[in-house]
């Protein structure tokens, strides 16, 4: 692994992912320094979700190099998963558990006492304190998304992966996500976000990566890293 791979939050070189004969992602070279917010822009099927799943180590590359937080995706998945949190289309929730039980379980699985103490605060932060004892199966799509965000907060990641974080959310929910991502970035967190909400993504992220047919077709810097304007 090169020096770049060790120093970057995400380092990819010649990265590709194939499903059968179809290449969902090909020839991707990517360097995301720590503390940077990146917006993955592209139409449906461009490869955004595939890239996020590869970075989350939920999927194995078909070719190329990928290091996340300095850890090799082929050999050090456990280390990657300790530093990454993913909020995707699938929210990883059990319909039969209540919101409080869901977060308590995640906290227990994480094994940190701080996370266990944080459950009530996180429920409050995402506006689900009043619904904490209701089962997730009774929740609306927006409430489920809020709970998934609370779960991601609880994991205290260094790298946050967001796949369409604003979908299903009402205006208050979107503002909540915006404020949360902004705060996360301000404290040195790295964000990779795929979104069709151009206005909000432009306001939140410092860099843009354009994907089309599984390849990077453009890169844009919106502002310098750490510049809140």
């Amino acid at each position: 692994m090169g020096a770049h791979a060790r120093e970057s939050a995400v380092h990819a070189s010649g990265l590709g992912r194939r499903f059968g004969r179809y290449w969902a992602l090909a020839h991707v070279d990517l360097e995301v320094p720590y503390g940077t917010s990146v917006w993955l822009r592209g139409s449906n099927g461009a490869g955004k979700t595939t890239l996020l799943r590869l970075v989350a180590s939920l999927s194995t590359p078909s070719c190329g190099e990928l290091a996340v937080g300095g850890h090799d995706v082929y050999r050090q998945r456990a280390a990657i998963r300790r530093s990454v949190s993913l909020v995707s289309h699938a929210l990883y929730l059990y319909a039969g558990l209540t919101a409080r039980e869901t977060l308590a379980m995640w906290a227990q699985l994480g094994g940190t006492a701080a996370a266990a103490r944080d459950v009530e605060r996180r429920l409050d932060e995402v506006g689900l304190a009043a619904a904490a004892d209701r089962r997730v199966g009774e929740f609306s799509a927006g409430m489920r998304k809020r709970l998934a965000l609370a779960r991601a907060l609880l994991e205290a990641p260094r790298i946050l992966l967001l796949d369409e974080p604003f979908s299903s959310l009402d205006r208050a929910g979107c503002e909540l996500v915006e404020a949360w991502v902004r705060r996360f970035a301000e404290t040195g967190g790295t964000v990779l976000m795929a979104s069709h909400d151009h206005e909000r993504s432009r306001a939140l992220c410092e860099r843009v990566i354009d994907l089309e047919d599984g390849q990077i077709v453009g890169r844009e810097t919106l502002r310098a890293t750490g510049d809140p304007s």
């Binding site: 078909s62 456990a78 929210l91 929730l93 319909a95 039969g96 379980m105 227990q108 089962r135």
Partner: protein, 225 residues
Amino acid sequence: MRVVWSILAKDLLLEWRERARTLSVVLFAVVTLLLFSFALGPDVEALRAGTPGFLVLALLLSSTLALNESFRIEREDRALEGLLMRPVGSMAMFYAKALANALLLTLLAPVVVGLAVVLYSLEVGPPALAGLVGCWALGAAGLAAPGTLYAAMTSRLKTQDVALPILLFPLVVPVLLGSVKAMDLVLFGDAMNQLQSWVSLLLAFDVIYWAVCGVLFRYAVEEGE
């Protein structure tokens, strides 16, 4: 252990909350037992002689229902992926899921064994009943480990309901034979002192299945290249 307990507690809580699902497994086992008695007719002696086989087949057939269900909840909303994203070893995940399945299958024993005693007019005392339940539990453990592994593997398939028994049944033949023979000796006497050997054989297969399937589980749940 903390991780195993967290996932096991979650599974048991969900089973309790969705009791209709658990009840359907119990009813399936009961119906299977009833069907065997209808198929053989009113010949009580033949029914008695076949009791060990009927019990083990009822366990085997109802296990596929329970095992399929245990991974349906993990595939809904891709909850299993969420577990993988936590610092949870796949081995711990396996032991939690397999324990939950073994427990559920063992809990069928009082109902199904009790029904067999009534249906087949078995004359058994408490020690023999305890022996039957013990053999059932060992059989359930032997099914739960490979069953959990295969249920995880087949849960991504559209043909899961068919694929699971096709893969599982040939593998668990030793457990099936051992359970039937041990139950037979418990019910009809053990003049040659063979019971201990059969129970040891069952235990040995249980240990092998639990060890090997625990190691292989990661390949069943992780997405390959």
